[in-house]
Symmetry: C2
Subunit: 162 residues, 2 copies
C-alpha cells in the first residue's frame, strides 16, 4: 500500500522527457463538487522531497462516484472517472502539520478514446485552483510519464483505504 | 484558520484534570459510513509534538450531513451532528508523508441533553478502530477540557475549508 502512494495520484511531475507524442491538456475542465467526493487519501510532500518545488504541500485526493467503483477494484476505471487532488499549503507548529490555503488543483479525467495517447487519462493542474491558470501544456511529459509504471492499476497510484 | 486547527477536531488530549464532573463515554456507538462523509481537513501530529504519545499520526477528519451545516456556519451544531477522526499511521520516505494503516477512530456526537455536562457533545476513541476497544472512560477529563476554549465554535476546532 505504501509503495502505491509514493507518487501523488494526480502526479504533475516535471521529469525528463521521452519520445512519447505530446498530448493536449488545455481542454480539461476543472472538476466541480470534488469537496463532496470520496476522500481517497492524504499525503504531505515537504522540503526533503525532490518533488517539493513542483508538488510541495498537503495533497488531499478525491474521486467521483464512477471512479470510486474502479478504485475499489484496483482498476480499470470506467470512462467518466475523475480524480481531484486538492493541494494545500501547510504550516508546522509544535510537531503538528496543519492544513492551510489552497495552492493548486489537479485532476485526472478518464476518457479512453479522447486521451488514448496518455493511457486514457486527461491531466491538468491549475495554480491556486484558478481555472484561468492551467499549468500543464504537455500532459505526456508533465504527467503521464510518471504514471506509466502504474499500468497494472490503470495508471493510478492510489489504492482503496476502507 | 490555522489557530483553529492546532488541536485535533476530535481531540483526545490526556491533559491535567480539573474539578469538572466526570461524564460517561461508554454509551457512544461507532459512526458508520464516515468514509463517505465530508472530508473536513487533515492534520499530521509527529514526534516533535507533546501530543504524539496520545495523538501521533495522520488525522483525517470527517463530518456527517447534519454536522456539515453547522460547520459551514462555524457552529452551533444541531443534535445529530457527528464528527469522525480517522487516525492513521504514516511513513516518511524521501520527504513524502504517506498514509498507512488505521491506528484509531475518534468521534464527537452532538446530543445537547444527553451530553449537557460536556458542552452537548459525547466523545469516544477506539484503539485500532476496534469497536471493542473504547479508550475514553472520562470524557470530561480526556476530551472536553481541551475543547472548552472553543466554546464560541460550539467546542469544535475545525473550520470549513471550501
Amino acid at each position: 500500500m505504501l509503495k502505491t502512494l509514493r507518487v501523488p495520484s494526480a502526479a504533475i511531475v516535471l521529469l525528463a522527457a521521452t519520445s512519447l507524442p505530446a498530448a493536449p491538456a488545455d481542454d480539461i475542465k476543472q472538476p466541480t463538487g470534488y469537496r463532496q467526493w470520496f476522500h481517497v487519501n492524504t499525503m504531505i510532500v515537504d522540503k526533503a522531497s525532490p518533488l517539493f518545488d513542483q508538488l510541495g504541500g498537503m495533497h488531499n485526493v478525491y474521486v467521483n462516484a464512477k471512479g470510486l467503483a474502479g478504485l475499489k477494484k484496483g482498476g480499470p476505471y470506467p470512462d467518466g472517472s475523475v480524480f481531484a487532488t486538492d493541494l494545500h499549503e501547510y504550516t508546522v507548529s509544535d510537531g503538528s502539520y496543519v492544513e492551510g490555503a489552497r495552492k493548486a488543483l489537479a485532476t485526472m479525467v478518464k476518457d479512453s478514446k479522447k486521451y488514448a495517447s496518455t493511457g486514457g487519462w486527461g491531466f491538468q493542474l491549475w495554480g491556486g485552483g484558478d481555472p484561468k491558470k492551467p499549468l500543464v501544456t504537455d500532459a505526456t511529459k508533465q504527467c503521464f510519464e510518471c504514471h506509466q509504471p502504474q499500468k497494472a492499476q490503470d495508471y493510478v497510484y492510489s489504492t482503496y483505504l476502507p
